[in-house]
Symmetry: D2
Subunit: 401 residues, 4 copies
């Protein structure tokens, strides 16, 4: 259950988002201006709701992961809420990774301004086919040993937020050296470093992530030793540290937007009459509303459970966060889609924000592993876990009598 502190923060966040953030939302086809964002962030600081997840020492509110969900959901009730509270992807996940793995010097250099909102960041792992996509083993970008550091060569694609970002956490393949195994290594790299080319951004249907999703090319980019994040060769392990919570925070934020959409649908249902009865009492509409309520509650409960398990058993938590990611991304999509239906022609017009929301969350079923890739992993994991049980002596249950 949520702690009292989190409950209070969620309530403050709720009030702030509804009273301050929503009135400042950009219109259909517009984007949030940098000045407005800065003002809103200042207001968020004043209201004591800024950067809820970030360490207190670096300017955040220090909320533990198990308490993030109600707060992030309130932030996500506005599509610009997470940006205002500086808890949007990919920065939020990078903050957590820097908190857990970075040296104090790295934290001062990168985490402090990131929490302050004076820079943005990227996480550069995905590569063009057939490199590291859904399958991290295919990592093709390399960092080779050079005097005093490393030289990165390779190409990354779909690097969310890279345009205008201050730095990226770059994943590259490294050779074994001394005590360090061969494997993937994370390197902190300013994005204006010599040898970096940021390609044209891929235009995607959603707009929530500032900085687009461009290709980023690395041609012998030098990174000094001091900017290796954690130990060389441990990149995939650290990626897991980042991944589980990062998947969940996506779920939390979008669940907030789904709640907003559900409220729009409920308001419409309560207000409109169709064939003489309020829409909420009318046949098929009730099924939609009920299914959305069920989707919201299952998503919420699953996020909650995954967050708790992540704190006690990271491996089981990561597995559960994969299930949560599939369920939540599809549940959120369904809830908004049903809201569109319930609002009829307005649902697909600029008069209401619903069709924009639908487009905002559509990629969430694909990013960070598509629902299909996750399903494949989930099925395989379940089959293997059961095979281990049987190998350990549990009788097979499928024998025909």
């Amino acid at each position: 259950m949520t702690t009292d502190a989190a409950t209070a923060l969620a309530a403050r966040t709720r009030a702030f988002v509804r009273e301050v953030v929503i009135p400042a939302e950009p219109g259909w086809g517009e984007t949030l201006g940098a000045d407005v964002l800065d003002e809103l962030r200042a207001a968020a600081r004043d209201a004591g709701v800024y950067a809820p997840h970030a360490p207190v020492a670096f300017g955040g509110l220090g909320l533990p992961l198990t308490d993030w969900s109600p707060v992030f959901q309130e932030a996500g009730y506005s599509p610009i809420g997470p940006a205002v509270l500086n808890c949007m992807a990919p920065d939020e996940g990078n903050m957590r990774l820097l908190e857990k793995v970075a040296t104090p010097e790295q934290q001062e250099r990168w985490l402090r301004p990131l929490v302050a909102g004076s820079i943005r960041s990227s996480f550069a792992m995905t590569e063009p086919h057939p490199g590291a996509g859904s399958d991290p083993d295919a990592l093709a970008t390399t960092a080779r040993r050079v005097e005093g550091g490393w030289a990165i060569d390779g190409e990354k694609r779909f690097i969310s937020g890279a345009e205008g970002a201050g730095f990226a956490i770059v994943m590259a393949r490294t050779e074994a050296e001394g005590d360090f195994e061969a494997g993937a290594t994370m390197l902190l790299t300013p994005l204006d470093a010599p040898g970096i080319t940021i390609g044209p951004s891929i235009r995607t249907i959603e707009a929530a992530i500032a900085g687009g999703h461009p290709h980023v090319r690395f041609d012998g980019v030098f990174v000094p030793d001091a900017e290796v994040l954690g130990d060389p060769g441990q990149g995939f392990r650290y990626a897991q540290v980042r991944l589980g919570p990062a998947r969940l925070t996506h779920c939390m934020r979008w669940l907030g937007l789904a709640r907003r959409s559900f409220d729009i649908a409920l308001d419409r249902a309560n207000a409109r009459e169709l064939f003489g009865s309020p829409l909420a009492d009318l046949g098929v509409a009730q099924a939609l509303l009920a299914d959305s309520a069920i989707d919201l509650e299952t998503a919420d409960a699953l996020i909650d459970k995954a967050a708790r398990v992540l704190e006690t058993d990271p491996r089981a938590g990561a597995a559960l966060s994969s299930i949560a990611k599939v369920h939540c991304s599809e549940a959120v999509w369904r809830v908004i889609d049903r809201a569109v239906q319930l609002c009829g022609g307005d649902g697909v017009s600029s008069g209401l924000p619903l069709i924009q929301y639908l487009n905002e969350v559509r990629p969430f079923r694909i990013y960070d592993g598509s629902s299909e890739t996750h399903r494949w992993v989930i099925a395989r994991r379940a089959a293997r876990a059961r095979a281990r049980e049987v190998a350990a002596g549990e009788p097979r249950r499928d024998e025909v009598s």
Copy 2:
């Protein structure tokens, strides 16, 4: 089954769309220029594929309704195909209505230029809440008797295509007069007639229908007797004449776009390897592909059947077209949505047209009666039909033994 003539025309249309139309498609965020459209239409005439549904005497190919489906599907394989072949809504439905109900003089005046593509048209029935929306009985716009004709007063909303259209078929309530019952009457009205105000267009997510969806206001708009379409008071009957086929042609066109999306997904599945196997052989992808194949075939079969029934039993055909509309609009949506999933990040980016297609077809689940409204009607119709059977002597089957 499709006749040989239709099969040949479908093949010609297929070749024309793929060789001529698709290369001329506008890019992401662009729209088709009027000049390009004119050139493409000229090419369509030369290729013998223009206006397949329109009467031969007025410049069309005179295809019977039961043969439209394969041809319209080929047209719909490009989002601009139906506009090029001049078989897009709302013009196509208006052509059919004029063919069936208009006087020869009205046909010369309105149908001929409409088939020629020199004007566009609108169908002005829907009204602001609580007027005629999904419930036509609530019609609030009136046409009152004046010297030599009628004066229309009222407000219409979501009048697709009205911006720049040459005329509208306006539905208005009329009093009983002589042999004519009170009821709804259709009137042919140039949209530049005095007293007509075309409001700002509602911006919607789809772009396929030229001329937007504006409000149109009528303040004492004069329409001479010669421009009454059919008999006064018979408007709802004529609306049914238009409605059944118009619903089906939407299904046909969008089914074509779903086939395009399915081809994109199949090409991607055949080309890509994920985890070492072609995507088409990979786990969860197969389920998506198979479900889409099933959706395409059920939609196709249902359209076919509904078209045949419409020709022999218009009342049963209208009921079946309602079922077809729900099924096809949702099937088409699912097929494109699955294609987006199968193309991963490209599916939601400007690199492929899929996310645009998804937005194009989204409103189809709402326009012409939302899936929920149709379901309500379908359920009620089924319940009443069964009640009539039982009243006629068929034993109840739910008695508990």
Copy 3:
């Protein structure tokens, strides 16, 4: 569209099933006695509705395949209707195969009594894992050349109807001989022939198929040359002749039972009040009723189309019958499942037959290829067809711009 003759026969069948067959249905947990079946069949002959699909020369009504659907659906409105009209699986499929492939002598010996209902039959193709199951290439049963005929050795499983059947059509692997290729060969075998052992029947949840689903073992079973069905080595081709229509007739029969269930649900919905409004007007119930109406109509249209295609293009028809099988088996299941829900506690009790019907149709999603196996085949077929199109010059559509 259905011919007038078929429409008339469907009407006669409807009347016969409702007036004669339904009153004779066995109660919960009971089975239809042989005497009652004989009487009902005699009545069916008198009513001119017996064996609608069988050749006139052999005692049937000679209806063409494209007209079967409305008649079989009326038969299936009672779970015992198909047995009464002698158009139940596996006999109905075997009759068609014998009609198409057997010699006149074979037809006299086996088809005549089969149509008359004096014997039953089996189709012995499926084998224990890893033999011929869903994958016919794995056929392990053999027929080797002996003096004057063949000797069959092997084991078959799940041989529907084998207990008490007069004969089986046995599929066995044969060597090349003379003009005949090596391959699968069909042999007509009395089931009391020396060397045949019929094992204990597998108890399954459905009861509609008389004669259970036992294992059948063949130890050197002699079959004379005259009892080879068609040409040696052509067994798989003949199996296809049987398979496409046999899949469809399952769909037709079960669709009739789904209509019965839908009527029960509609009667209940019309009669009951819940929270003060008739259930048919009540919220969520309408969605269920509408979805069932949609399922019934899509299934009906798809069966219709598949039957027409089967007559003109057997290969395309077989592919479409696979899609029809998946869609109909699942649609039928859903329709009955929804009817159970709409009847509440009565739906799962012996007071109504619905839960029995649900159990009757459950295996249909598995028999003749499970929905999952069909999906796999459908996906692969779609992917390969598209690959051939592209190989033939059609441009790939998935190229990123």
Copy 4:
């Protein structure tokens, strides 16, 4: 999160069910004998797993509600597990009600033997249409004041477990008297009391609940004052005390059976090869396995959350338990249904228990309020809650810009 004590008890229960209970399960079509049940219960006591939910003072293990889920799921892994551990419906819910509301004397008389397993019990609330069914306000059974107690008149239907039960908790309408409001009153009544007639049991498809679901008629049945449960007129409030947890324990038990079914499917998937690859790696099977894993986890998380909320906010907990009931009953059904598919012909035969399990859980989607009734309630509750928010000043979100 589960406490350590609960984790240990769940582990003991798991071992006991798998080692002792499963080997004693009755075969297809058989039922558990009373003697075997007694022996198994004795073994359960010895193993320290008996009556986990019941108060320690009365012979149970005193587990708090928030810890029931893992233990009940382990019990439900066998269809007879809950009966063996004496935590099956309706007794388990009645135990909780007696624990919370009964006097010490009533507890000695009824709760002690109930926990001991020497008697069974019923909960007699539901009435024939149009009495108290899904709508408790329609309660028609009355208890009128007589000398020294009350006289019950009325008819109840679908009284689960009434055949052979020692007593029932009867819900009857009572007049206001002294401090007590008019309303529903609960009365403890031996089922062999004069005036009680237990009708023939309704045969239903599931077998897990001992004692059938008969009608029970009350003709002036005398109940002394000492057997009123709690205060007169508070029956509906107490029914809520029972209802929320009772819904959840159904979810827990059936979720256990769904896990068993999933294990069967996984074992089959791991063992079988189809088309040359293990079924678990094969296309469509993976989607089924993944969807089941997702269903199991969402159900588990939702039960967990509902149990926690029930302990802190009974009203919110009851609302959430309604959502949990819909989701879990349908999720459990889907999981078992998919397992049937994955096991092919064996899935619908007596060789595996899956089709029995499917029949066991089918009524769960109807009992205790059908999914459709709950959806109606959930939709209405959501709409009203939102209307209250708006009435309290929250701006409407559906206004068109």
